[in-house]
Amino acid sequence: MTTHEIDLKALMLASLDGDAAAHRALLARLSSRLRAYYKSKLAGVGRGTAEAEDLVQEAVLAVHFKRHTFDPAEPLTPWVHAIARYKLIDFLRRTRTSRADVPIEAADAIMAHDDNVGAESSYDVRRLMERLPKNMRCSIEAVKLDGLSIAEAAVRCGISEPGVKVSIHRGLKALATIIAGKRGHED
């Protein structure tokens, strides 16, 4: 078992218990692993690496929203690898490349390299958020983008504090759906 597996699984377990710092560290560390993975895979099937960042973000969103499907009795690496590979195959299928072009690989491939050279993905979050209902948009902008507290956001948006929390939760889910849908429409 690699040290990545041990470290990252500890972060995952803490994140499942609601530890925000662990959750952030997990997503940040996974995103650099995912970046290296997608860049090499896209290059391997003869495609540019420009789309790698979009895939990284889709996989990060999936790790976040599907983290309840992680079974703590199992290692983390195969779980992350399955998500990363699923998103890759889905992407290649959408863009009409055969699945046969994705070589069989060991799950460890996902933990093999770091790549911290982040690029901008093609999503502009502020523009995407224009499609959200007002309360969701206001809550996310206040707390997530402008760094206000929940209480300050409640005042700014004119809703209750629990309302802000619910709006953020629902808004992020809606945002993930928009991003997934946007990719679908681009084909």
Binding site: H23, A28, A62, H64, H68, I83, I168
Partner: protein, 213 residues
């Protein structure tokens, strides 16, 4: 958007996660599917007229245990297949056990009967009704099962769809058993087994379309 911004966006007060959610959602779905299937059977087709005789009850119990066995095994595998990478630990051939058991019992019962009875034992009285009813009753339980699997994150969609179909077929056969008056083991093996396999194949075909996320 930069990935760091996305990570920031996602990691503010994430809250604890309910680890039993995948299994519980599947249980709720199969429970709801069973209620729907029994409702459709009882109100649409009616309970068999001799239901309360001990002879009928023992046959119904035998059919129920076949169907419940199938659904339970399907549920066990669905709980794996609804998670990313769940298909890595297969052994899903164990799901064929109830089918093998009923086929063995059917063969024994045919062996014990004179060959002049075979036709009647296999074809029964209502083979056509059975052939149509089990897949039709399975539609709603299948929809609920697919919904439940979609709450997870399956990465082998055909296989997850197949097991959702298998679970729904089992639930449907369970409900249909309270109506059906054909009690021979070969009948159950051929028509119940066959229609449940049909549901499984339909699920495998529909999975990639219905389960994409």
């Amino acid at each position: 958007m930069k990935t760091e911004d996305l990570v920031d966006l996602l990691s503010n007060s994430p809250g604890p996660i309910d680890r039993g959610l995948v299994v519980r959602t599947l249980l709720v779905a199969l429970g709801a599917g069973s209620i729907l299937a029994f409702g459709i059977t009882i109100f649409g087709l009616g309970v068999r007229p001799d239901m309360m005789t001990s002879r009928a009850l023992s046959f119904v119990a035998a059919k129920l245990s076949f169907a419940v066995g199938i659904s339970s095994l399907a549920l066990v595998y669905l709980a794996k297949l609804a998670r990313p990478g769940g298909e890595r630990k297969p052994r899903s051939y164990l799901a064929a056990l109830p089918f093998l058991a009923i086929m063995a019992l059917a063969a024994i019962s045919l062996g014990l009967a004179p060959s002049s009875h075979w036709n009647k034992m296999i074809v029964g009285d209502e083979w056509l009704e059975c052939l149509v009813s089990i897949p039709v009753i399975a539609i709603l339980p299948f929809a609920v099962s697919i919904w439940a699997v979609r709450q997870g994150a399956p990465t082998n969609l055909a296989r997850a769809g197949a097991f959702a179909g298998l679970a729904a077929g089992g639930v449907s056969a369970m409900a249909y058993a309270v109506h059906c008056t054909d009690d021979s083991l070969p009948f159950v093996a051929v028509w119940y087994g066959g229609t449940i396999v049909l549901c499984t194949l339909a699920g495998a075909a529909a999975g990639p379309r219905l389960l994409r996320w």
